[in-house]
């Protein structure tokens, strides 16, 4: 059995139709329950009916277009209002600019400053506050002087001696600070020698070169406490500024460390300049992001007669060694060199 497609379709179309029971028609007719007359599809539909389900894409598009038009119109209205405001402000500004030179020539401000009164009141309040603080400072200064006098009387020394004592203490602290910077400079140079003439990147890197981290705190810095050892060391235990981390050791005038209290600076060549940062801040120049010390060239002072210049041999010694030609003696025989 190998029928063709046409034969199959023809046989299918000629299929027999099963006949229903004759009683089925009566049952179906009896079960007819027509909906109420006049009920529309929109009322019967579960979601707006057939009309809505058919037309909702068009309705949605129309609603979207209307919404876009409304938004566009409202934005245009706002833009027009803003343009009017800008024009009004521009006109007002032009009037003020035109009126300002005339007021300056008269020395009187004809244009009212909206914030002038408030600013004046603020300045007055600031002045009042500063006056109060000055009065408090004066009272503190007087109290300080009185306490100094009382302390000196209690110790049995004069006020001048107490002042000298304080100065001596400050000087000792300054010398100790210089010593600290010397040690820091030496440690940095040692580190650089071992690391291709490059200075250390931070203080912690010099832990092998520095005997103790206590040298990182200036004696005059009462706000910081030196670390007991490198294990407990943090940047809160440092008074000095490290201005050339990972810098080159081959720039001798570059400032490596600086004490912000005394103004001492340690240069890349290891030398420490005392208080230069405070006494001559103009000698420090930023060049390519590096702080360099450039001292002005001093004019050479003529040496006093008979004085020995540094690096120059005594004239008598020079004569002795034949470095200075002796005055010409026509008849004298040439001096023989000592045998």
């Amino acid at each position: 059995m190998n029928p063709s497609e046409e034969q199959i379709e023809k046989t299918l179309r000629q299929a027999l139709r099963p006949r229903p029971n004759p009683g089925l028609r009566r049952q179906l007719v009896d079960q007819i329950q027509l909906p109420a007359a006049g009920q529309t599809g929109a009322q019967a539909g579960s979601f707006g009916g057939a009309w809505f389900s058919r037309w909702w894409p068009t309705l949605a598009t129309c609603a979207l277009a209307v919404a876009a038009v409304v938004v566009y119109a409202s934005q245009q209205s706002e833009i027009n209002q803003l343009r009017q405001v800008i024009a009004a402000l521009q006109q007002e500004a032009d009037v003020r600019v035109a009126a300002a030179p005339a007021a300056e020539t008269r020395g009187v401000s004809t244009v009212p400053m909206p914030d002038g009164a408030a600013e004046l009141a603020s300045l007055r309040a600031t002045a009042q506050q500063l006056s109060t603080e000055i009065a408090v400072l004066e009272a503190l200064r007087t109290e300080n002087a009185r306490l100094k006098t009382q302390t000196a009387a209690a110790l049995g020394v004069s006020a001048e001696a107490l002042e000298q004592l304080a100065n001596a203490k400050e000087k000792a602290q300054s010398i100790a600070c210089i010593n600290n910077l010397k040690q820091l400079g030496l440690a940095a140079r040692m580190w650089a020698t071992d690391n291709g003439d490059v200075l250390p990147p931070n203080f912690t890197s010099m832990s092998n070169e520095l005997f103790t981290p206590k040298v990182l705190v200036c004696p005059a810095d009462t706000a910081r406490q030196p670390a007991a050892d490198w294990g407990s060391f943090t940047m809160a235990n440092v008074s000095y500024e490290f201005l050339a981390p990972s810098g080159s050791e081959t720039e001798p005038q570059r400032v490596v460390f600086r004490c912000p209290i005394h103004g001492h600076v340690c240069l890349a060549d290891g030398s420490v300049q005392s208080s230069l940062a405070k006494t001559h801040p103009e000698w420090f120049i930023q060049r390519d992001g590096k702080l360099m010390l450039e001292q002005p060239q001093m004019p050479a002072q003529p040496a006093p007669t008979g004085a020995v210049q540094p690096g120059q041999m005594d004239p008598e010694m020079m004569k002795r060694y034949g470095l200075v030609p002796a005055p010409a003696q026509p008849d004298a025989a040439p001096t023989e060199p000592p045998q």
Binding site: N2, P3, E9, L12, L16, P20, L28, I32, L34, G49
Partner: protein, 192 residues
């Protein structure tokens, strides 16, 4: 689309009982035949036909006339059959030989035996097709719906109906060829 049938539906919408009765008279036999072939027995087919018309009357106001009344009713019947099949867990078809119960007035007793064999084998093969293909063949070939009406009833595109019909015919042709292959003949001959 038959304007007369559409007018009947409109009249039924207005509550005219005579129009509704006329609709029953015109379509209940076709719907019963459709459901009888699908359901496999007389009682279920009659029950499903009643359920179909029970759904038709409340749905009358939603009939917009975009499809023919026939395809609309067949669509409802198809949905009723699918609901019934799911509810009864009859996911696999259980074909019965419905054609043997139906007297055929169109053929004379001298009809060739070969044609009868072909028809029986063909109808049996149709009932063993996949559900989608089977429904399409039933609606288009057995019920006589056009391609568009079949597509409306099944809720698919006309091109899908064409594809399904083409696949169905090819599968039927292959199955009928298998039935008469030499191997099957050999197997039959070995039976004791």
């Amino acid at each position: 689309m038959n304007a007369d049938e559409t007018q009947l539906v409109e009249a039924a919408k207005r509550g005219e009982l005579r129009a509704a009765t006329e609709l029953v008279d015109r379509f209940y036999e076709a719907l019963f035949a459709f459901l009888r072939r699908l359901a496999g027995n007389e009682a279920d087919a009659a029950d499903l036909t009643q359920k179909t018309f029970a759904r038709v009357w409340p749905a009358l106001p939603r009939f917009a006339g975009r499809s023919s009344v026939s395809s609309w009713l067949h669509g409802i019947a198809h949905h009723v059959y699918q609901d019934w099949r799911r509810a009864n867990h009859r996911l696999e078809p259980r074909p019965d030989e419905w054609w043997e119960d139906c007297p055929d007035p169109r053929h004379t007793p001298d009809r060739l035996a070969a044609d009868a064999d072909l028809a029986a084998a063909l109808y049996g093969a149709v009932d063993r097709l996949e559900p989608d293909l089977r429904s399409t063949v039933h609606l288009h070939h057995y019920q006589g719906l056009t391609l568009e009406e079949t597509a409306d009833a099944l809720g698919v595109a006309a091109s899908t109906v064409k594809y399904r019909l083409r696949s169905a015919v090819q599968q039927l042709q292959a199955r009928l060829a298998e039935k008469t292959s030499p191997s099957s003949t050999l197997n039959l001959s070995r039976k004791p």
